[in-house]
Amino acid sequence: MSGRTLKFVLALTAPVLALIAAFAITSLVLIVAGDPVIEVWDQLLSIPQGRNVGNIIDNATVLYLSGLAAAVGFRMNLFNIGVDGQYRIAAFVAAVVAGEAWLPGYLNTALAVVCAMAVGALWAGIAGVLRATRGVSEVISTIMLNFIATGLVAYLLRKAAVREPGSNVIGTKEIPEGSRIPNFTISEGPPVVHVYGFLVIAILVGFLYWFVLNKTRFGFDLRATGSSTTAAVASGISVKKMTIAAMLLSGAVAGLVGLPILLGSSYAYGSTFQSGLGFAGIAIALLGRNHAVGVAVGALLFAYLNEQSNPLQIVVGVSPQIVAITQGVIVLTVVVSYELVRRYGVRLEQQLVARALEQEREQDKKEATA
């Protein structure tokens, strides 16, 4: 096997190993709890039909953006635990802006998207500035900012909200129809299956993520700082600036996370707006090794598990929360198996080099005697 194919096989081994381990651990939990293992996997691993496919793609779109937001930070060795707070506060502001409809049609949508990115960047930027100027760990500050965002949004929501008649749910003003992003149809049916139009933007963001980080000087600086701060400083990169830039960028992407839902299905930010997407993003970024395509695969996997687990309660009488255990375990097993495979790869490489050196030495000896 040549070095290149070996690398490729090893790179694939790690996630496969992780999934198998997660599969085994989940099964073990089910067995200990006395739940029907085979029926559960039968349901989870069945092929999704029609509307389920649409739901999976929708959910994956949201999770992909969340994963990318975390991945930007990871590339620079920054833990943006605050994606959760950033996307909620950003989605809230976007909902208010779009609901007010100061601009007509899609200009309004564009304004809302820009506002969301700016607010997300700003909120993450606080942590970036604190880290760069005061040396505050971004892990702690983003956790604190998450809770502050929760309180702030709850307060502002009550100030800005309109109550739907006869309901306890409060929300922002509905976004006018002309500013919504239309869903597009992937299957004429029956049943007709729609997916978020925002999917296109998510794919675009994924491409930009790959392009900026791998093909531009800025991206190189960012990755260099993440790999070795001292080397970055030596080559003239300002670590402070890069820290703030990375957090701003991560926050801007985080600002997009809630938008597919906002502009594609809920059209308003209410007290029931989906939360907790930020933490899933961290898991997905780890699973996808911060690679644009890898993160997409991770997002699809998580969305697939979420969707397939929904009918578990009805079909086999098992709580769908079992997949949360699977997802959490995947995070751990992914990290462990990448580390194990990396160590194995290093050892393999050392053996290859040692063998090559020995051959060279023998050849030298032969030539000397000849």
Partner: protein, 422 residues
């Protein structure tokens, strides 16, 4: 083994005397007394009545203990060099443990069950970080995800069909016994009612301590003292802290670093589990979904606020518990009164900073102080959302303005592999 320990211990007093800005011996007592004095003055100035009633103090004790226990869990693991973001998840496991074991086997089983479940969470964290060298933050995040899913899964498995139980809550569980010294309580209540400046406030606090005091509060406070003693007064503690400061040095002196780290994370999980159990047993009377409400993170914040020391941790969790219970008691007025105190304190701090010569910090703090003061006069009462945010804002401010004074264990968060000492 004893040689390295005594060698390091002998150095400690020298280091202590050389530091000029050392806190006085009973600083925690002085701080508590001045806090009470401040509140008495505040009550006089603003006319808020609920700031130091014995009811508020009791509520504060109940609100403080889970935060303090979680922080104590953080203290154990971070002193051994393992960052524990998973405290929240371990607390969640603790609430379930209390619900399950409490319903089936009684109040004290609930306590043990909570500790057991928390320790299980700690075990996962320990295996991942100590044995497999997983990044501490990643492992913590994973544990939080697993714990939230696991308790919901377990709840629908074990609580559905029980009287009062369901997918989101357990049946009622019995409470641990509480301590009341009737004659003393009545006498103190008389003093409290008389409204004598400062004396009544002290009486209210003492009354809260002798009237219906849960035995779990006593145990929690004892655990704080025991932690302080074990970590700072025994050779076991010295070695454990050495693992957090310089694991390679510790290992080269014969300390079994990995074993200490492993044990510390297990204890950390147990304490966090007990924190969750406290919520289920004392603060409410059953397990409920989402009961922890981020208190694991507040505990982490209290520990950082307290500079990775037990006394500071108690002060931090007391402060956070106090603001929380004021907010919960519908005390928009009380929280508003605190704004005035914060404004005055901030301006005083700004003067101190200015005398020390740091103009930027002093300017910023003064601006915050003035802003708080203006807010005090402009608004009628503080909305509940903001009083809930207080711990997080305070922690951010402390980190931003006092991060030079904070000193976390030197090797905190670093992955250590056996044999790194060479």
């Amino acid at each position: 083994m004893s040689v390295p320990a005594t060698a390091t211990e002998a150095k400690a007093p020298n280091g202590a005397t050389s530091s000029a800005r050392r806190l006085p011996r009973f600083w925690l007592l002085y701080a508590a007394l001045s806090a009470v004095l401040l509140l008495s003055v505040l009550q006089l100035v603003t006319g808020a009545t609920d700031l130091t009633s014995s009811g508020t103090i009791s509520a504060t004790l109940i609100a403080t203990m889970p935060i303090m226990l979680a922080g104590l869990g953080g203290l154990w693991s971070e002193r051994a060099g393992i960052v524990n973001i998973g405290l929240e998840g371990m607390m969640v496991l603790g609430t379930y443990g209390a619900g399950y074991f409490g319903y089936h086997y009684g109040a004290w089983a609930a306590v043990l069950g909570a500790i057991l479940m928390g320790t299980l969470g700690g075990l996962v964290h320990a295996v991942a970080t100590v044995i497999f060298g997983v990044d501490h933050i990643i492992s913590g995040v994973a544990i939080n995800i697993i714990a939230f899913g696991a308790v919901q899964y377990l709840a629908s498995l074990t609580f559905v069909g029980l009287p009062g139980g369901g997918t989101t809550q357990s049946p009622k569980i019995p409470d641990v016994p509480a301590l009341t010294i009737d004659p003393l309580s009545d006498a103190l209540f008389d003093v409290e009612k008389k409204d004598v400046f400062f004396v009544s406030e002290i009486a209210a606090i003492l009354r809260a301590l002798v009237d219906n005091l849960s035995s779990l509060v006593i145990i929690s406070l004892l655990l704080l003292v025991v932690t302080w003693y074990l970590l700072w007064r025994t050779s076991f503690g010295l070695r454990l802290r050495a693992c957090g400061e310089s694991p390679s040095a510790a290992e080269s002196l014969g300390v079994k670093v990995l074993r200490y780290k492993f044990a510390a994370v297990l204890i950390s999980g147990g304490l966090a589990g007990l924190a969750g159990g406290f919520l289920a047993i004392v603060a409410s009377s059953n397990y409920r979904d989402g009961q922890t409400g981020g208190r694991g993170y507040i505990g982490l914040a209290a520990m950082i606020f307290g500079n990775w020391r037990p006394g500071g941790l108690l002060a931090g969790s007391g402060l956070f518990g106090y603001t929380q219970s004021l907010g919960l008691r519908g005390g928009g007025d009380s929280v508003k009164a605190l704004l005035l105190a914060a404004a005055v304190l901030a301006i005083a701090a700004a003067f101190l900073q200015a005398r020390r010569g740091s103009r930027v910090a002093s300017g910023l703090i003064a601006a915050v102080g003035v802003l708080l003061g203006v807010t005090y006069f402009l608004i009628d009462s503080v909305p509940g959302d903001f009083s809930g945010m207080t711990p997080y804002v305070i922690t951010l401010l402390v980190l931003a303005f006092a991060s030079q004074r904070l000193r976390m264990p030197a090797a905190d968060g670093q992955i250590y592999r056996k044999g790194s000492a060479g």
